[in-house]
């Protein structure tokens, strides 16, 4: 708890998360990536709604510490409007720096990075995007 104390951005994205939820299942324009598990203490599902090579909107579901929920929310906001190449450049360290995530919680952010990587890989595998 102490690591989560007095962090305005953390509180903002944790208590009023933007991008929370998921897109309708089976939509051809939606790419999805999953990472983590209950056993690992963090699990994230990230979805990107694609328009050409651009991310039109992003959604997340997360189970984990406050940092993982807040970071997933921040990421959906960050991804919106980016191209897939630009999104590939968003990594754990950038997310951690933006939300002032303490070093002992970086593991949660790496799981989020894995979910993003899986989501982008899924996006690129969709022929209609290319």
């Amino acid at each position: 708890m102490s690591a989560a104390a007095s962090n305005v951005l953390l509180e903002r994205y944790f208590f009023a998360p933007v991008g929370a939820g998921s897109f309708a299942a089976g939509s051809p324009s939606v790419a999805e990536g999953r990472a983590g598990s209950r056993k690992r203490g963090v699990a994230v599902q990230l979805q990107c709604q694609l328009q050409g090579q651009k991310i039109k909107a992003a959604r997340f579901l997360a189970w984990g510490c406050p940092h993982s929920i807040a970071a997933a929310s921040w990421l959906t906001e960050k991804l919106t409007g980016l191209s897939l190449d630009e999104a590939s450049g968003v990594g754990a360290m950038q997310i951690a720096a933006a939300l002032k995530v303490p070093a002992d919680r970086l593991g949660s952010i790496l799981v989020l990075e894995d979910a993003l990587a899986a989501c982008l890989e899924n996006a690129r595998s969709r022929r209609h995007v290319w």
């Binding site: 708890m1 102490s2 989560a4 944790f14 208590f15 998360p17 929370a20 999953r34 983590g36 598990s37 209950r38 056993k39 203490g41 699990a43 994230v44 599902q45 579901l61 997360a62 189970w63 984990g64 510490c65 406050p66 929920i69 002992d104």
Partner: protein, 394 residues
């Protein structure tokens, strides 16, 4: 009754961690501090010293009276942790010529676990009992662990995380039959459950003042006189407290503890009847929300504690989300640590279930409106966090 609030919204449900000091206790403590009060050293032989000594002995009498003990059997310490150290270390060292085997359980307070671990490093053998159903240590389990060289058994009366009440009568009877010292940490039970050391087969019992509306920094160890229980001192100095706990007696702290114990004696029955009702209301409300399980049968637990596991949420996020509630995810002594509760893990919960568990502990100021407000906050956060969780994670 208005609940104890901290700031505009905070509801305090962490009375097992500590309690506010009762106003009557504060008033009495103040009488022992200033120039016009009984501030003198209770070991001094002049008038002011004797007045301070009288305060100490009155307090000792109140502590003893609540517990059915003799005043001469009460040794003041800095708290239950020191009392645990004194009992375990002092008892084991005194008995070392007879044997070097100690028995305790994995769900004890850190003060007991770490005292036993320290002795292990010094060549003592420790049997760590794994509590069985609901965290109970059975007489059969203890009997099996006893050896000819066992000299000390240490088990707590009420578990600080789950509230489970251990059957110290039966466990103590077995220890007495085998000639083994029986130490009980009663930090969570004194003043909350009836304790009659005149009848209980307990040789050493640890207490704390701040769990029952007394000040922090003061506690006591009961050391039985008949049959005589001997300890080696673990601290050395001025010979106070029968040579077991040296250091100038803290008159104000001791007087405060005495008053707290005196008040507990008069209030215990009514307090507990009220808390049973409030806890039942809390548990019924939680069951209505759903996805909860109690860590311990309510009828086997102290009436002020309810430990609950929440399904479908991660523990730290649940705690973080409950900004209006002051409660613990386990023992307050360990809740700054992110590790899941070792007590709940010892009861068979996996790491995630243990981490997603909260200890609600109610007290004198808790009212129905606090319980209802807490339930509303919990319902809101549980709904929100469960909706945020990926469905495939459960």
């Amino acid at each position: 009754m208005a609940g104890l609030t901290m700031g505009s919204r905070m509801i305090y449900l962490d009375y097992a961690a500590t309690t506010p000091v009762d106003a009557q206790v504060i008033e009495l403590m103040n009488q022992c501090l200033g120039e016009d009060g009984d501030f003198a050293n209770p070991s001094s032989l002049h008038g002011p010293g004797l007045a301070a000594r009288a305060r100490v002995e009155i307090a000792r009498g109140h502590v003893a009276a609540l517990l059915g003990a003799g005043s001469e059997e009460i040794v003041f310490t800095s708290g239950a942790t020191e009392a645990d150290n004194m009992a375990i270390r002092g008892g084991a060292l005194y008995q070392a010529h007879r044997g070097r085997h100690i028995i305790t359980s994995r769900s004890e307070h850190r003060a007991v676990l770490d005292s036993c671990k320290a002795l292990e490093k010094e060549g003592f053998e420790v049997t760590w009992l794994s509590p069985a159903e609901q965290g109970r240590v059975s007489v059969a389990q203890l009997r099996e662990a006893l050896r000819p060289d066992t000299t000390l058994v240490s088990l707590m009366h009420v578990n600080n995380e789950t509230g489970l009440i251990q059957d110290i009568q039966s466990l103590g009877a077995l220890c007495r039959e085998q000639g083994v010292l029986f130490h009980v940490d009663a930090a969570q039970s004194a003043g909350k459950l009836p304790i009659d050391l005149g009848r209980l087969p307990v040789d050493l019992m640890s207490f704390s003042a701040h769990k029952i509306y007394g000040p922090k920094g003061i506690g006591a160890l009961f050391v039985r006189r008949e049959p005589r229980c001997n300890l080696f001192p673990v601290m050395f100095g001025g010979g106070q407290e029968q040579g077991l706990r040296p250091g100038t007696l803290a008159t104000h702290q001791i007087a405060g503890m005495g008053k707290a114990f005196e008040l507990a004696a008069t209030r215990m029955q009514a307090d507990q009847a009220r808390l049973v009702g409030l806890r039942q209301r809390l548990w019924q409300g939680l069951q209505k929300i759903g996805g909860v399980s109690a860590n311990g049968a309510l009828e086997s637990c102290a009436p002020n504690i309810l430990n609950v596991s929440f399904q479908g949420v991660e523990g730290e996020s649940l705690m973080f989300g409950l900004t209006g509630l002051a409660l613990s995810s386990g023992s307050a002594c360990a809740s700054s640590n992110r590790e899941p509760s070792y007590v709940l893990r010892a009861l068979g919960l996996d790491d995630q279930a243990a981490q997603a568990s909260l200890r609600f502990s109610l007290g004198r100021s808790t009212g129905i409106e606090d319980i209802d407000a807490a339930l509303a906050m919990l319902e809101e956060q549980l709904k929100r966090l469960r909706e945020l969780a990926p469905p495939w994670v459960q």
